[in-house]
Every structure is written in C-alpha cells, then in structure tokens.
C-alpha cells in the first residue's frame, strides 16, 4: 500500500515536471487589427519602383455610392458580414488590416519548404531542379539564399507599386468604406478614413498570389486557396464591396505582369551555369590569384551554387564592379594565418554563447535563409510601429531590394575571387555548421545582414543600434561556426553597407519622408 503510494507520487511528480515545462509553440506573428500610425493620404504621389508613376495602370471610375449597383453590393455585404461563421471570423482575424505581414510569412514558409539541397543520385551524379519540369525530382525550386532574396524583392516591390497605384485612385475617386456609407455595417477592423476603392487588400492578395505562384509553381493550389480566403475575408470583415476588390485585383495583376517581365530578363535563368562555364570561372580565378575554391562534399558537386548570380540585374546599383571589395589575403600569408588560427582556436574552445550565436543565425537548409531572417525582423518592427500596408510594403520593398543587391554583389565577389573555405585551407578542420556549396569570400550572411540593417535603420532610426548589433552578430556567427574567416565577415559587412547606400539614397527621394 505504502509502496503503491510512493509509485503514485513518483508518477504524478514526473508528469508534473514534463507538463509544467511545456511552452506555447507559435506558428505566426500574434497580432490583431490595429490603428495605423498614419494613412499616408499622399502616398499616391510617391515614386514607384517599376512603374513610371501611379497612373501608369488605368483604373476605371467606380459607380457612385448612391447608384443601385453599389447599393446592391452594399446590401449583400451587410447581410454577409452580419452572419459570419466561425471559420469566416477566424479568417478575418488571421488576415488583419495589414495582410502584407501575412503574405510575407506565407512567402517565407514556402521558401523554407523548398530550401532543400538536391542530394546525389545513386550513381553519384546530381540532378538540379528544372523549372520546365518542376515536379522533379528534385522539385523546383531549391530556395537557397539568392533564390529567396530575389523572390522577396519581386514580391514586395510589386506589392509596393500596386499599393502606390491603389492609393492614388483611392484619393482621386474617394469612395468611402462600406461602414462609412452605412454605419450599421459591422467593420471588423479598426475604423479609419481610408477610401475603399480600389481595395488595397485585393492588390496585396492578387500580387502575392501571382508572384508566389510564379516562384513556386508546385504551390499553385495552396497559394490560390490562401488568396481566395484573403479576398473573401475583405467582404467578411466589411472592409470592401466586390467592385473595390475587382479594381484592386486588376491593379495587382497588371503590376505583377511588369514585375515578372523584369524577373524573366534579370539574368537569373543563367545563374546556375553548366559545368564547363563553372570550370572556366574557377580557372580564371586561379590564373588571377593562384587559389581556387573546391567543393569538398561526397560525392563532389560539380558546380557551385549559382556562379552567375553576380551577373543578375541589380535594383539600385549601376554596376556590380563599383561595389566589389578588394582581394582577400592569399592563403599562407601572415594575415591569412592569423585568421586561420582564430578559427582553430574557436573550434577548440567555443563558448556556449558563441555556439548559440552560430546556431541562432545558421539559417541554412530547411530555413528561411538570412534574407528571410531579416524579413522577420522587419515584420516585427512593422507591427510594433503600427505601420499601414503601404508603409509596410515600402519597408519590405526597399529592404529586399538592398538585400538582393547585396546578394548579387556578394556572389560577384565569391566567384570573382573564388576563395577557398576554411575546411579546404586548414587540414583536418571540423566545423559545427555545414560548409555551403560556394566560395568563401565574402560572407553572404554579413553582406545580406549589413544591407538589411542599413535600410531598417533608415526606416526605424530608433532601432539602429539593435539592427547593427544583429548584423555584426550574424557576421561573427559564421566565424564561430567555422565556415568563414573573419575577413569574409568584416569585408562582407562593409560591402553590404556600401550596396545598401544606393537603395537608401533612392528611398529618401521617393516622396515618403
């Protein structure tokens, strides 16, 4: 009896210890509809990125709120919005009045899903993803950092241009929101005076659907389902009548065509070079510098990751050469040896905090990559500072252009210098992070991070110290992880800042400040 009691107490205590340590596991940013810090009524005058101006896309005059057509839409909306099901209410709550945030999360999640490197075939060869046969195997795309930074740039630039267009027509046509026209219509979101036609939510849904579908063809159905729910939620929330939404969808679809036309011709198609071309890039570097990076995987990957990503069209930097960093120290020189010794020291005596930093920033396969990490920071600031959708889109657009330009510049340096990784130059060297399939100099993490930090510091000046600290930590994380030399990281930070200055200078002139 007594012994049974002991066992019971042990059992209860064990269960208590297991259960009391359970933490909530959030799947998305937790926020609700909020009051925007401002509506940016003049945003229709801001300079777009791809469009010549906010009237390039012609949006027709809406029917008047007193017209029978509008009144019929309003009556239908009123009936729907007053009788929502549980799942409709959930959708309204999920999408909020700043759906830019949700589409950014969706984009990152899909990018993570596709961020898996193709493994070897049984005969030791590798098959690369092919956009012509996206099912694979391996499936298209491999959403590595260059792929992800590019998709995020096109997504947010198209969202931004679409919203500038929408804002222009909103204040030209000045159609009030449904709940302004009829005060008895419930409005799920915090009420404001933003005109309702064309629907900004519909612009965001249409752009996001088309860009993401182009980037992730196998996710077509999933993305379409998300977009449909988003568009319906605009009605369920009482935010827009169908004609507001149709006009928004039209803008979205027009601006996406322009964005995807740029994407089709930006050089990305040629970035993953064939082996012969890759070999000649390597031998050119060896002839120039006397060193070359080699892939050390088993079996060896015949081509590094996107050797010609450095030739992709930049957003805001005229030529990639003008931001190319100076050459790294040659292996064997005293300066190199100092850097190599630092790595060996870390590999022997890494502190727990350094290990944690290396892993915190690892952002490798099966993650949203460093560009995604910075999108997450931007998202959190956008919510914290209660940005409206167009300010949010502007933040992502400029940040992601700078990140992509930084990536292009970084890849230019990587394949111009073709510098070997620490595992290649230091005999027997072991690391706690996997060494990526591209040359060492400069560090992608550092370049991406410095560029992102520059744009976020410009948009959120109070966060400058935090952003710079993050960028420096991201840079050093690769040194702690044993996959980059300190000079890769430090020069990469400097390079990222230089690249981002072009974007920040452009942003300062777009009319939003």
């Amino acid at each position: 009896m007594k012994r049974k009691n002991i066992l019971f107490i042990v059992f209860a205590a064990g269960m208590f210890i297991i259960n009391s340590c359970e933490n909530e596991l959030p799947r998305q940013a937790s926020f609700s509809s909020y009051e925007f810090t401002g509506l940016d009524a003049d945003a229709g005058t801001w300079k777009p990125i791809l469009l010549a101006n906010s009237t390039q896309i012609d949006v027709e005059v809406p029917s008047d709120v007193s017209s029978p057509a509008y009144q019929a839409e309003l009556a239908a909306l009123k009936s729907t919005a007053s009788n929502l099901s549980g799942s409709q209410r959930d959708a309204v709550e999920y999408w909020t009045n700043n759906p830019i945030v949700r589409w950014n999360e969706i984009a990152l999640e899909i990018a993570v899903k596709y961020n898996l490197i193709p493994g070897p075939n049984p005969d030791g060869t590798y098959t690369l993803p092919n956009p012509a046969t996206p099912e694979g195997p391996p499936p298209f795309p491999f959403a590595h950092p260059p792929y992800t930074c590019r998709l995020l740039a096109y997504l947010s630039v198209a969202q931004f241009d679409g919203l500038i267009t929408a804002w222009h027509y909103k204040y030209v046509y000045n159609r009030p929101s449904p709940s302004t026209v009829d005060a008895s219509i419930p409005s799920a979101y915090v009420k404001n005076d933003l005109p309702s036609y064309p629907s900004d939510g519909a612009v965001i849904a249409a752009v996001s659907k088309d860009i993401l579908t182009a980037m992730f063809p196998l996710e077509k159905d999933y993305i379409a389902k998300k977009a449909e729910e988003h568009l319906n939620s605009l009605i369920w929330a009482g935010a827009n009548v169908p004609s507001d939404i149709e006009a928004g969808k039209f803008i979205g679809s027009e601006v996406t065509k322009i964005a995807l036309a740029r994407a089709a011709a930006d050089g990305m198609k040629k970035a993953q070079t064939p082996k012969a071309q890759s070999d000649s890039i390597k031998s050119a570097a060896f002839a120039r510098f006397g060193w070359q990076w080699d892939n050390l995987e088993t079996p060896v990957r015949p081509v590094g990751l996107v050797p010609f990503f450095g030739k992709v069209k930049m957003w805001n930097v005229p030529t990639v050469e003008e931001v190319r960093p100076i050459a790294p120290p040659a292996p064997g020189t005293p300066e190199f040896e100092v850097n190599a010794k630092e790595l060996k020291d870390y590999s022997k005596n890494l502190t727990e905090n350094q290990r944690k930093i290396a892993n915190w920033w690892s952002d490798g396969f099966n993650t949203y990559t460093p560009p995604g990490h910075w999108n997450r920071f931007a998202k959190n600031f956008i919510i914290q500072y209660k940005f409206n959708p167009i300010r949010s889109a502007r933040t992502f657009a400029y940040m992601n252009m700078a990140i992509m330009d930084a990536g292009i510049s970084c890849w230019d340096a990587k394949y111009y210098y073709h510098y070997p990784r620490p595992i290649q130059t230091i005999p027997g060297f072991k690391t706690i992070l996997g060494t990526p399939n591209f040359p060492s100099y400069t560090s992608g993490h550092s370049t991406f991070s410095a560029a992102a930090a520059s744009v976020l510091s410009y948009i959120f000046p109070n966060e400058t110290n935090q952003c710079n600290a993050w960028a420096e930590e991201a840079a050093m994380s690769r040194v702690y992880g044993g996959i980059h030399y300190r000079f890769d990281a430090e020069v990469g930070l400097d390079q990222g800042k230089k690249v981002a200055k072009y974007t920040v200078d452009k942003a300062k002139l777009d009319g939003a400040d």
Partner: protein, 310 residues
C-alpha cells in the same frame, strides 16, 4: 540467491536517452533489501545507413556515424520488492565522412523505481510482475538540435513500464515489457524551425513513444551464466519525417525494431559479487534514425551494504 544483474544494454541507439535508462528498469532483476549493484558498461554503436522517413539511405558526408557510450549505473534494494536505479551515460559521437565536428559529454541523468507486485511460485516455475517509473533529465546543456551527433534528446522524460516474466525451474524464462514514454520539449538554439509548417520558437516538442521489450533466456552453470535473446521496439506516437537529404531534428517520428543477444557471467568465490556481460544488437527496421549495430561489454559488482538477512 540469484545475482542476475543487468541484462545486456542491447538497445543503445541513436537516441540513447530512453534505451539506456530503460534497459535495466525493463528487466526482471531485483536487488534484495540493502543490496547494491554497481555497473560500468561500454557500448560501441555505429551505422552507415540511416532511415530518412522509411527510406534506408547513405550519406557520404556522414560516412559511418559512431556513437560510443560509457554508462555508470547503480541499483539499490530499498526493500526486496522496491529498487532504485540511477545512471548517467557519457557519450561521444564522430562521423567518418564530411567535416562536421562530433560532440561528447554527459547526457541525461535517469532515476527509476522498480516495484515487484507479483512474485508467485508454481509447480514448474515462477511468475513475476513489475511496474517501473523512470524520470530522466539532461545533465548538461548539450544541444539536442545537432543530429545525428547530438548526445540525446535534451528533454525531460518520464516512463511508466509494466514487466512480466515467467521462469521455468529448468532455467528457461520468457519476459515481456511495455512502456509509455512521455517526453517534454527541448530548447534549441534557433527560434524558427519547420515541422510541416512554421514554428516561431526555440522550443520543439519531442514526440512521446511506446517502447516494447521481449526476451527469451536460459540460465546455465548453476545459474552463473545467463544467455538471452532480446527484441526491442520503439514507436513515436507523433512527429515528422526527416526531410529530403536534410538533417534529422528532435521533432522526428522515430521508430525501430532491434534484435540482440547477450551473455552474462557471475563469478564464484573468491570473486563472488563480480559479473561480466557482453552483448550485440542490430536494428532490423526503423524510421528517421540510424541503422545501428551495437556491441558492448561491462562489469558489475554486487554487494550487501548492511544486515545481510533482512
């Protein structure tokens, strides 16, 4: 009386935390009151194939993964029918391929109580039944999210196990055990991970699991030699699969079936109290883990701490 100490640690596996702690609590050996048994086991586990989901594959950048475990253990008879067991393994991992660094250190501390609630003699043998509870918790701040090198799952684990054994007078016996393993969460060093969707947190749910043991054995040479054939199975009750050509993570649904053989010898005077054991085991099927072969050897020393006749 009988001095059957530890049965073979046949299930030392990819995630050694449960198996190491579980093996002794899953056998049918009891210390008498105030008897103590010290054990030191050396285990060498290795695999060159692993299951990615259900697909058995190789990875040239891992080559052969070796996992060496040294396990000190103590069993103590609180009463003839209630035993306390304590153990903590020291683990070292290493890969023959690639450039990833292995790790080493103490894994989890486990504490178990084993209670015998049936001990009934029959004409031709004896029936025994036990219930054990075990609790284990990480001894050090090792990183669970560093598979396949991780020392363990990095989480608290609570086990409830039932064991039944029938022993014939001619020395043969059969034993079966079943357990449920409740696992908590493990804290990792990244605050985003993918588990069929996004998770924005540093915590990962480690799946609970069902664990089965079966054994057929015989005692020979006046009870001084024990030979045993074993089966161990483990099934996670939830979890995701390792993604294509990607690392494993603690959220994975781990399963395996393993067979093994062990031998234990107990010395007579003047070495009375000393025992030696050796074992071999092999995984025959699995999911989301390495196909381990384990070979191990150990020594045990049993001693009466006070009042010999209770």
């Amino acid at each position: 009386m009988k001095k059957y100490l530890l049965s073979g640690l046949s299930a030392l596996a990819f995630f050694a935390s449960f198996t190491l702690a579980a093996q002794t609590p899953s056998d049918a050996i009891m210390m008498k009151k105030n008897e103590a048994c010290f054990a030191l086991i050396y285990d060498h586990g290795a695999w060159d194939h692993y299951w990615e989901g259900a697909d058995l594959r190789v990875n040239g950048n891992v080559g052969t993964l070796t996992r060496v475990t040294v396990m000190p253990m103590l069993a103590y008879g609180i009463t003839n029918n209630l035993n306390l067991l304590v153990g903590t393994p020291y683990v070292k991992t290493h890969a023959s391929g690639g450039q990833m660094a292995g790790v080493h250190g103490f894994q989890d501390l486990s504490l178990s109580l084993k209670y015998r609630f049936v001990n009934k003699d029959f004409d031709n043998g004896k029936l025994e039944a036990f219930v054990t509870t075990a609790f284990s918790t990480p001894m050090t701040n090792y990183l669970s999210d560093y598979l396949p090198f991780s020392l363990g799952l990095g989480t608290n684990e609570f086990t409830l196990r039932g064991i039944i054994q029938y022993k014939l007078k001619n020395g043969f016996y059969v034993r079966a055990a079943a357990a449920y393993l409740w696992r908590g969460q493990t804290e990792v060093e990244r605050d985003y991970y993918y588990n069929n969707g996004s998770y924005y947190t540093t915590f990962m749910d480690v799946p609970n699991a069902l664990n089965y043991h079966g054994a057929i054995g015989v005692r020979l040479l006046e009870n001084n030699l024990k030979l045993e054939a074993t089966y161990v199975g483990l099934n996670s009750t939830s979890g995701d699969d390792i993604r294509r050509y990607n690392s494993a993570q603690p959220t994975n649904k781990v399963e395996f079936n393993q067979v093994g053989f062990s031998a234990q010898y107990y010395f007579k005077k003047p070495l009375k109290g000393l025992g030696l054991l050796a074992y071999y085991s092999q995984m025959i099927s699995g999911r989301n883990m390495g196909q381990f072969s384990n070979i191990g050897a150990g020594a045990t020393y049993q001693v009466q701490l006070k009042n010999k006749k209770s």
